[in-house]
Symmetry: C2
Subunit: 743 residues, 2 copies
């Protein structure tokens, strides 16, 4: 076992930690995702607990403390929640495989468990378990599970179990589909039907309250030895199962396989469940083709950190989830929990453009483009959303469903966090530049640019006496300042969006208006030059963090009222610093340092989006110790229980950015025209190496404390600037830049 590649749940099994591991061990094919729940489940963890979720600040929201939370998600399949709006539905679980020895079902809480090991191999995306169990009948049983969501056949989920008993025993296996599940406490089932379609095959038809539908078929097999008649079928209304009793002799290993196939009403083309399941391909061949896909993926993405096993493995966990979560379908994006939980309701936020997109654009640009293509396809929703606010043009929703419709139930974010509409344009421009395809903006995205620009021209206000336009009533990235004037981040992003749109303007007058507005939108500064987050910031109250924020293990928002947050100098997350991270050349080091010194003491990092930005900006400023601390904080966010409600995928996207843009010092295509790198390795690292896709050319970068090597994997020369030295790297060749690295 390579500890740089394998994530292991600590022994002994602790049900209090299960929910976190269910998040971390989420597997997915892009099409289909399942949380890392136990195959046999816990008897004391009902999945049909019903409650009514209410709109609230998700960061401070308290989720019911369940031991286990199943999650089976097909992006694009929604339920209608009466209070929250549309939400990705938790679908019937097909994971269930329950071994039973002498009448005793495996249960990690109630059985005598000798050992339990569970591990996710990040390289292959296979989750495996080995349980040794001492039964009440006195036998010792070894149960091993393996499972994967086939990356080669995204509708398929493959499971294998072997059971070995040290004595003759009555062995039974029960495998089923359970639809008695809830999505954040809500039952979205409109109709459920089960059917045995063959002796070894069952099917579940599941219709949701939106009209969306899924079909799930499960096929079970005991290998060659078991005949069809061995399976007993039972239908309990919301669940059904196939059960078989198998005579087991001492030491004999019983082999069991379960394959599940899922189709849905969101599928572009209908596929036949029977065809999906009736493969002649055996388990090993299915595994091999799956592993081949993951091998290809890692080749294009893997970041190697020599000298720091923990960071290495944890960063790979980030990349694993980034790759796993990408739906591979431009009708979809990636939700903040990466389809590993329903807390953010499977909806799409600005996280996609600002936190996830870079990873894809510089490792797998086609998949990056899909994410911004999603916004082009969602333009109609954005136009309807603008109309709902009394505006023409397009206004992207704060929480978008696949159709681009606003689903945010909290008015303060929905109404005021308008920057998302500019972030969308930033993302489109990023795709255009990173893929060296300016036509993407003038052709594919032109209508988005134009319509959003029209929206901005209506959204700006011109206050009496002011010589400049203003964006008022705005919530910036810092969500603890809800309704502010001229938020610097928002104004800069809107100016950027208007500039981009000007190339696609209908006429010269319009173009002129857009350019003039872009120039005139202010970045408010204090007399000493400090970039103000918004006009009001210095009119907010000082807050006594020491007195009010006693328990630093929990967020600040969990310990003070929202009312206080909204009138105080306290940031949920980086705001001005995010602006400076995105537009580094527009601010001098002194200006960035001034902002860092001013805002950091006020910043609570209650948002998982915050530490990563601080790490990158800290590295720019040469604040290695602070940057390292922020990097570690961002990296480990989801370990130790942070993943209970899913993966903080934006933070994982930032972790790649910290590694490659921060430590690697890669400038994005928004910041440089040619491949530009200034690596800053921590002392404890011996080597940092990563592939990068730069405007259609692939390269491989290796940085040590003594040199940077860039290998041009393309068939064209590659222009590069490393530590300020510009070189042309011939096709297929590598160039070594020896240097003294600042550490």
């Amino acid at each position: 076992m390579d500890e740089r590649w394998v994530l292991i749940e600590p022994e002994p099994f602790d049900s209090a930690a299960l929910r976190g591991w269910e998040g971390l061990f989420t597997q997915g094919s892009g099409y289909l995702h399942t949380r890392g729940s136990l195959e046999e489940h816990l008897s004391d963890a009902p999945q049909n607990v019903t409650y009514l979720r209410r709109p609230t600040n998700v960061t401070a929201e308290q989720f019911p403390q369940m031991k286990s939370k199943w999650g089976t998600f097909v992006p694009g399949i929604y339920g209608n929640h009466p209070l929250m709006g549309k939400e990705m539905a938790n679908l019937p679980s097909f994971l269930g495989i329950a071994p039973c020895i002498d009448g005793e079902y495996l249960d990690l809480e109630t059985c005598v468990i000798i050992s339990h090991r569970r591990a996710l191999d990040l390289r292959t995306a296979v989750l495996s378990r080995a349980v040794r169990w001492h039964t009440r009948s006195g036998k010792t049983v070894d149960v091993a599970f393996e499972r994967f969501a086939s990356a080669a056949r995204p509708h398929l989920f493959i499971q294998r179990m072997t059971v070995t008993c040290d004595a003759v025993a009555q062995i039974a296996i029960r495998a089923g589909i359970d639809s008695d599940v809830r999505t954040s406490g809500y039952d979205h089932a409109a109709r459920v039907g089960f059917e045995r379609v063959a002796g070894d095959q069952m099917r579940c038809d599941f219709a949701l309250d939106t009209g969306d539908q899924v079909q799930i078929a499960a096929w079970v097999s005991l290998g060659t030895s078991a005949d069809e008649t061995a399976w007993h079928y039972s239908d309990e209304g919301r669940a059904a199962a196939l059960t078989a009793a198998i005579p087991g002799s001492a030491g004999q290993t019983i082999y069991f396989e379960k394959r599940s196939a899922v189709t849905s009403s969101f599928d572009r083309q209908p596929s036949d469940l029977d065809v999906l399941l009736s493969l002649n391909t055996g388990f090993d061949a299915l595994l091999a083709e799956h592993e081949a896909v993951w091998r290809r993926r890692w080749k294009g993405t893997d970041v190697i950190i020599d000298g720091d096993v923990e960071s290495q493995r944890t960063l790979r966990l980030a990349l694993y989830h980034l790759m796993r979560a990408h739906p591979g379908d431009s009708r979809l994006a990636i939700d903040p929990k990466a389809y590993a939980g329903d807390a953010y309701r499977g909806l799409y936020f600005w996280d996609t453009e600002m936190y996830l997109l870079p990873f894809f654009l510089y490792t797998d640009p086609e998949r990056g483009r899909m994410l911004t293509d999603f916004r082009i396809g969602a333009l109609d929703g954005a136009r309807k959303n603008a109309a709902a606010f009394g505006h023409s043009g397009a206004r992207y929703p704060w929480e978008s469903d696949a159709a681009g419709t606003e689903q945010c139930p909290n008015w303060q974010y929905r109404d005021h966090e308008v920057h998302v509409t500019a972030d969308v344009v930033y993302g489109l421009a990023h795709t255009a530049r990173a893929s060296h395809d300016p036509g993407y903006l003038t052709r594919d995205a032109a209508e988005v640019l134009r319509r959003t620009a029209h929206y901005w021209l209506e959204r700006i206000d011109r206050r009496p006496g002011d010589t400049y336009p203003s964006l008022l009533g705005v919530m910036g990235p810092d969500e603890y300042a809800p309704i502010t004037s001229n938020n610097a981040y928002t104004n800069r992003l809107v100016a950027f969006a208007l500039d981009q749109a000007s190339a696609a303007a209908e006429d010269d007058v319009t173009r002129g208006q857009w350019i003039a507005t872009a120039r005139a939108l202010p970045i408010v500064r204090r007399a000493d030059g400090l970039v103000m987050q918004c006009e009001e910031f210095e009119q907010f109250a000082e807050v006594d963090f020491a007195a009010l924020w006693r328990d630093r293990s929990r967020g600040f928002a969990s310990q003070v009222s929202q009312e206080r947050l909204y009138r105080s100098r306290c940031l949920k997350q980086a705001d001005v610093l995010l602006l400076m991270m995105l537009f580094p050349d527009e601010f001098s080091d002194a200006e960035v340092r001034q902002a860092w010194d001013y805002y950091l003491p006020y910043t609570t990092h209650d948002s998982s989006l915050s530490p990563g930005v601080h790490a990158v900006v800290g590295l720019r400023l040469g604040l290695m110790d602070q940057a390292w601390a922020f990097w570690q904080r961002s990296l480990k966010l989801d370990l130790d229980g942070g993943a209970e409600e899913g993966i903080h995928i934006a933070a994982q996207g930032m972790n790649w950015q910290i590694a490659v843009l921060g430590f690697g010092g890669l400038k994005t295509a928004m910041q440089a025209d040619i491949l530009t790198l200034t690596p800053r390795l921590p002392d404890r690292w011996a080597r940092l190496a990563f592939p990068v896709s730069w405007k259609g050319q692939r390269a491989y970068v290796e940085a040590t404390h003594s040199a940077v090597t860039v290998e041009n994997h393309s068939d064209q020369p590659l222009e590069a600037q490393i530590n300020g030295i510009r070189r042309r790297i011939p096709a297929g060749e590598r160039v070594i830049f020896e240097h003294e690295l600042q550490s």
Copy 2:
């Protein structure tokens, strides 16, 4: 019929207008309130339509368009709404009386109605109807109803019907109790039980989802002629009824009486339904004792306007509802819809102190004091509410239930509209001064003063660089500016509250802090002296009302997004002007005029609380035409459909204030130490006359264009200042102040 006293529904009957008349015709004993629904109901207006109400801005909320909306309310009896919180429950209706001729039930929509007259006699609070109906069997039937909520026996509701048919007919009468009702679409029934307790008596036991309970008994009688066995009892689960068939000869008048008695778990002392109903007192005697109470009430309150029948009657409608709605119980106050509808959920807002209290304090001071006693009793709730915000002390809830617990589901009001806590103290001080009982503050209310002062000292912020304390993150009376700094109204009221509290401070240091803070809280002014609503006001956007507010028959908020309201210079209601109305001597006429000129163009009057304040301030400024228009607007708010969801009782309270404080020119006890009057009669009025209770002395004021007469009804001399002339009016005498009235 005296048209100055009787409110008549226009003929012919229009079911589209019914809901408004149900509001206007609401009757109540204080203990028990029923909307003015038809006894026989409409067959096409189900009362069990279920829907889920969501928290929103009530001013802009769209209510389901039902033809009829029953309302039966016992203040203090609540249901638990899953989204809205606690709300006054709509209770089983006992109004039902359905006459049936030859198998045809009376229905104003489906029967042939020759005439239908319905009228509320404001003097007696009796609602009567006369229907002439041509049956399908060819007969002409006269049906007359009378009903009243006994002011003498508040648990009792009395109804009478007579039926006269011009030919021999089969007459049946059905009278019941119907519990299949909803409160704003929600069914709060936990248990319902019906029982026939005697041949002519039935009972309904109704338990709510809060555990609150009501018992309703109904007794029916056909006078002396009918024997007990005539009644048939039917129980349909959620409703039950007694039915009798009566042989009717031509021209014979059938007399029917129904008495309902209600008790509840909120009653201070249990009363026996049987005892309540088994009166030997006949209808006429019950009516006489009821009328006697109302005679007494009018004596102490009636405002006479000679020369303007419409204003006279409509103002009496206001006083009728003010008197009818007062619960006569210091555990309760008056909700914004005056128990005539469930839109504001029967909860208590600042409306009580600032809009309703003056009417009671100057006409029926004991009842006035009950309303402020309510806040003293609710102190525990206010302390819990402060704790919920992380503060010690007491913070009164924005929407209070009887226990003083916060029930506001919208965070912007709940969190930020803190002025209510100062308004409560203003109300307490008003009671103390108006009843000439300073001990009320140092004794009864001392703890409220101290605790709220402690809250304010924690709630203020001291911004770096400022020399004064600030109240940040505040919503003032204008609810379209949600989170602002140093709202003038709020700061002044808080300063007032701290000043009042200083007399009750625990020690000198605390007293000193409170006084110093009161002095230092700023009223922000523009360079030219304009009192700023808040620091941010001039940083808000100008809004193009002409372009955005096309349909002036509906509120501005119904035509623009909340997002725009929250960033624009648009007031929902008077804010600075309300401050100036309350503290008239702190602002010169020029300052008030400056504020009037500045804010009025921005004021939408979307709140019913706005026109009345403008009328009073307009009168001070001598802007008679504008003041008149605002007075008429405020006065007529509930006619023409405005009362569909209940009575705008704060506006009705303001209507008394416009008449007495505005036109009458009475200074309140907060503004003057002795009875001070400066009447300003409109030209069209010949005479304005009203009783006034001034610091324990009763007086009667009559103003004409030529003189003001004050009659001292007390047994002590009365100091008075009329039009600037000070006089001592001997006990029992009247003094005439002749003068030239400014018109």
